[in-house]
Symmetry: C2
Subunit: 221 residues, 2 copies
DNA sequence: ATTCAAATGTAACAAATGTGACAACTTATT
DNA sequence: AATAAGTTGTCACATTTGTTACATTTGAAT
């Protein structure tokens, strides 16, 4: 068990001996969920750190109108909503749903605090994780502030390409529509626009970037 | 100086004697900015905690197209971007611009870490602040995921009213448009829609809520 | 290879929002 | 009270996105 935990980003840089000591001191549980389970529901109180040790889950935000906006996929090993534990109104901002069997290590807030005071490395790791989360959220915000759908798609494609000129889309247009918060045919249209402008070539999930500088320019349109 | 710092949320619950001890240990600077200064620019590295001790500033996110989306106003005493210091890609997500003369206490990352390890209360305060920030960001995200402008406005008005049935708007339509990320006439239209539906009564900045249950329903439209 | 469910391309039309403009009104200043 | 600067109401029109629908293509299962 402790060897498994050593793999977690939270305990990076902590040696085996120190881990033994830490986990003698603190209390924690393990939990499992089946495929398609609602692991955490939006609004639920968040007073325990949930560490995903196995499986893949997704986070989605339910809007006031009942539509859901997919925020991200989370793969083990990772941690759920680390930035929400120590707030005053500490409620989960999203639903967490498992794609497959998922296992968690659960540590209560008070125990986590003990960990921090007992080991500076763990504290530093945790602070780093929270920072990354906040950055992720503000990237999302900027993304949603892009003017047009075409701009969002261009940004997404360049990010997804990661330097390659040819790649397969990870998500269907349906999923992209959810991710962007728009209707599905609009996504298709945006693809077609970029194609008709000679910026990309799309055929189903296969994408080829023809003019990556034009694709960057499309951010601002 | 130390008495001033005692007022800050970061040092809440720390007694005077302990403060003396802490500030003998760590290094910090003070900084001032005039009216309308660019205190921090988006993308700048964030390796110091900037504590606003006096004045009012605003945070705005510059989109790829050059348009800016106002994120929030910050009043002293508060802290800038606490969640961004400990990340790996630690860059400010926004421009910070002073509305008036603003004073800061600046503490470098390494010194801050010393503080945390030296005093659990300060650590807890800081964690709480980060959590609140993350929650704020994710509220913003949900807000932008609202379907229509009318829904955004309805949400905003109910929040702003805070139980009252009559109040004056804090922001002009121009500012609201910036806040919502839409064009100014659209804001006016949304007001007029709500008025023509008998939900509110608006005359310039004076707003009266006529039917608050209808206003809540408007979230989902 | 065949079959079937899901994903995609695409169209027509409706609705929402952006743009640019201008007059009417408020507010602060003198 | 007069003035000027900024804000708001409002319009016409362009553009974007949503909605619904359906035919086609793909990919997985048999």
């Amino acid at each position: 068990m402790k060897y498994e935990l050593l793999q977690l980003p939270l305990f990076e840089g902590v040696d085996e001996q120190e881990m033994e000591r830490l986990f003698d001191e603190i209390i924690f549980q393990t939990k499992s969920f089946g495929t398609g389970s609602l692991v955490v529901s939006q609004g639920e109180e968040c007073n325990r750190l949930m560490i995903l040790t196995e499986g893949v889950v997704k986070g989605e935000m339910v809007g006031a109108d009942g539509r859901s906006l997919k925020i991200e996929d989370l793969q083990a090993p990772t941690v759920l909503a680390p930035a929400f534990i120590f707030g005053k109104r500490n409620h989960y901002p999203v639903n967490i749903i498992s794609y497959e069997e998922a296992k968690f290590v659960v540590i209560h807030k008070a125990e986590l605090m003990k960990l921090f005071l007992s080991n500076a490395t763990v504290l530093q790791n945790f602070l780093g994780m929270i920072s990354s989360r906040a950055q992720f959220l503000s990237e999302k915000l900027r993304f949603h502030s892009f003017k047009s759908l075409k701009a969002k798609l261009a940004f997404y494609l360049l990010d997804e390409a990661g330097g390659r000129t040819q790649f397969k889309l990870k998500y269907s247009q349906n999923e992209l529509a959810e991710l962007f918060g728009v209707a599905r045919p609009s996504v298709g249209r945006a693809f077609m626009q970029l194609q008709s402008e000679g910026v990309i070539d799309v055929r189903y999930r296969q994408v080829q970037i023809i003019d990556s500088s034009k694709l960057s320019e499309a951010y601002s349109e």
